[in-house]
């Protein structure tokens, strides 16, 4: 039992340590763009997550697992998906929910069947819809409207070089840590080196979103602008890097990872069109987590039907 928990701790440090390293850069960008508000939101999330985790661990497990960095990662991810000037209690509720309902009851961040950050964010999206998708703060030079609300209104943005650069460096109002696509691409490159297999789901997700945005564009502009706007809007790209690559919920095998990513992408784009929420990617992640075991069975049966499953290659994530 003691050795088991030591192994889990080592794995946790290995996996979530990578995420923490990656998250430094979106955090830095958010503080640079949004200043003290961003620091406050990050601080509240991290402290709340820690407090909930500490208290509930002591109650349930009678000890606190300091080596489990999943709470810290989830808290930061939740904060980065929020507007910088959001009231403090909202990220607090989100982090509390992620810990109390997902992490602790299911045995920790390495075993939860749902991504804690997606769960917490989805929860507060339903509770405080107006506040969570209200992006009013930011630097003067920023584009005044978020890309997600632009698309929701059926409007577009001309894909000039200036606009394109603004989008990829995050000079657009939106969630405080998910706008800078360049940084997120750099995080993807890091994952490519450290945990290459986990990017299969991200690739499937982004491919599905891209295809959907081209075949069923929401805005009036060109297909290029539709594709760029859809992929850059909201927390979609951020989710592809941090939420879809979550160690606990990622399927084991390559084709299952791909199916998982594609499924999540399709659901996310359908939800965007139904427009119940400006950014529904977290709900799509939750549904993908729920459907994941069924997708595993489904892909297995399809492969067997086409007799392609004679020697199934067992591929584990790098952390496994």
């Amino acid at each position: 039992m003691a050795s088991d928990s030591k192994n889990v701790s080592k794995k946790s440090i290995y996996v979530f340590g990578d995420y923490l390293l990656m998250l430094i850069f979106p955090c830095a960008i958010s503080v640079w763009c949004y200043g003290a508000d961003a620091l406050r939101t990050l601080g509240v999330s991290v402290v709340t997550g820690f407090v909930f985790d500490f208290i509930l661990s002591l109650i349930i497990y009678k000890k606190y697992f300091a080596a489990d960095l999943s709470t810290l990662c989830s808290s930061i991810m939740i904060a980065l998906m929020m507007p910088s000037d959001i009231p403090a209690y909202i990220p607090a509720f989100a982090c509390g929910f992620a810990v109390a309902v997902i992490k602790i009851p299911f045995g920790g961040g390495m075993k939860a069947p749902f991504v804690p950050a997606a769960s917490g964010f989805a929860f507060v999206s339903v509770c405080f819809k107006d506040a969570v998708f209200n992006y009013t703060s930011g630097r003067e030079s920023m584009y005044p409207v978020s890309l997600a609300s632009l698309l929701a209104q059926g409007r577009s943005m001309k894909m000039t070089t200036g606009n394109f650069l603004d989008i990829i460096i995050g000079n657009v109002r939106g969630p405080m840590g998910t706008g800078c696509i360049l940084v997120l691409i750099a995080c993807m490159v890091f994952l490519l080196i450290r945990r290459r297999e986990s990017l299969i789901s991200s690739a499937g997700f982004l491919a599905a979103c891209l295809a959907f945005s081209i075949v069923f564009p929401r805005s009036e502009g060109s297909l290029l602008s539709s594709a760029v706007l859809e992929l850059s809007a909201g927390s979609l790209f951020f989710a592809s890097v941090f939420l879809l690559t979550d160690f606990a919920t990622l399927p084991k095998y390559r084709r299952d990872k791909l199916a998982y990513g594609i499924f999540c992408g399709i659901i996310c784009m359908v939800m965007r069109r139904l427009a119940a929420f400006e950014e529904p990617v977290c709900f799509a992640v939750l549904l993908a987590n729920a459907f994941s075991p069924l997708l595993d069975i489904f892909t297995n049966r399809i492969m067997r039907f086409f007799s392609l499953n004679s020697r199934r290659k067992e591929v584990f994530t790098d952390a496994g």
Partner: protein, 194 residues
Amino acid sequence: MKILTQLLITALYTIFVQNIVMTSGLGMSEVMRISPRPRTFAKFAVMISGFSVVTSVLCYFITSKSSSIDSYAAKAVVYGAVLGSVYLIAAFFTNLIVKDKENVAVLGIAALNTLVFAVPYINDSAAYSLIDCLASGFGAGFAFVLAAALIGSGARLIEKNKHIPAVFKGTPAMFFYVAMISLGFIGFTGTQLF
């Protein structure tokens, strides 16, 4: 073609977008009990869809022809009487004519549950046309099976997870799991059914 499209859209809406099990809790007990038995899913899908369709259509005709059935009390009696009659006819037929005693018991669960009984109410509150009633009834069975499949696979994951604390093992973890699936489905419409 237009009718088929309308049928398909309403059915898909009932199954996926506003899955009536996950977004309103209808039939939740039966779903949780059926979920460990994936081999019965096809049977339940057909039976629940069948009962829902027949009940929906009959209730649609009765309520549209009779203007006195506009109160909740009257609707309860009419819908219940229709459902009970349809079930008894099916049960008699299965038991006495086909003599398939195995499926008679399953019929009871498939027919007399909160999901099938709620379908005419949903049709009435949404002011569905006859085509939509058909589709909604059809979708109810598959929504049930989809929910059972999701919960069943989740139950298996939870069962295999040895790290769940003792106080959360079993039904507490199952409730949380189902809650998160329900939260996921809220992403489609942002509201609940009733």
